[in-house]
Symmetry: C2
Subunit: 216 residues, 2 copies
Amino acid sequence: MGEKQRTRVRRVPKRAVYEREVIEAILDEALVSHVGTIDEGGYPVVIPTLHARVGEWLYIHGSAASRTLREAERAEICLTATLLDGLVLARSAFHHSVNYRSVVVFGRAERIEASKDKRGALQAFTEKLVPGRWGDARLPSEQELRGTAVLRVRLDEASAKVRTGGPVEEEADYELPVWAGTIGLRIAAGPPEPDDRLLPGVERPDYVTNLVHARA
Amino acid sequence: MGEKQRTRVRRVPKRAVYEREVIEAILDEALVSHVGTIDEGGYPVVIPTLHARVGEWLYIHGSAASRTLREAERAEICLTATLLDGLVLARSAFHHSVNYRSVVVFGRAERIEASKDKRGALQAFTEKLVPGRWGDARLPSEQELRGTAVLRVRLDEASAKVRTGGPVEEEADYELPVWAGTIGLRIAAGPPEPDDRLLPGVERPDYVTNLVHARA
């Protein structure tokens, strides 16, 4: 199978999206993605990870001792990020569904070696988790950078799949007296809980309060 | 690599959990999981899917024409479900993290053929999305069951990984005047939106209202 070929969405192609800005927006909104590799025994392995996009590059990172990252470096990987947007209740059990936005990225992962580049990646991860955080936190030491493996994949082979809207039924089922509709889902943030060992007098930064408000 | 061997969590083994009830609770709470297969070209492919657990079996389903399900039937798969529970803000950029609960299941998928068994699986999927829904919806026809592929994997090789609590810092960093703590995350439900073609007089069932309240 050709390398571009596999990026074509085959099931329900009407849900496929190949526009770069849609793909990037989904990757940027999703905090967690799932990376598929093939282990030494030839079996697929799927591990959850954080990812961060910088331009046309998608970064993942972990301990320098991580088995998954070592396997990811040897071969092609598949990284998939999914946002669950809602439950879709159809009149028929068969047509129940979910609204979602997902991106599948294929590519060969390359390891980042230079401290400067690793630091840039860690900045992207930190700012993605909590925008505004990088300037406040103690920056990584050379030793911490050495202990971190950072891989990147170019967003060459990526596709999105998006389902929106209400249920799609068999025409006859629209006459059934069964409630049907959608229930939106989103990730909400709870109140910030300060660390037990927070120094007295350290106030909660605005970017933490803003993050919680944005997800209230 | 032995089949049981791969289920052992290698990175940060203190976060590993092998108790069956923990594994089942995570699988039951997660609506979406990610299934890893190997495609015809030998590359890993990761696709988001809904899953439902019935006892020691984990079910996935899709169109009978689904490429992923066909590939899943040929070989061993890996199914991973992840719940994102919070953001962990450390004083050091390096120790930023997330709280999460994830399960990784390895196994050979087998196809369900009998209509009765397929119907049971669809019941599990429907009840998982919206508890109480199966008794209200129009039940699947024989034709719909034929058009649905259902696979199951036995929960023999499964492990969980769980991170909870606040940041873990280098000892010296606890003296830094930097705010640190956690921000809990959860999936929240919005107000139910009735379908445009809902028949007049059809009221919203209590199980829909209850689901939204439970996720308010």
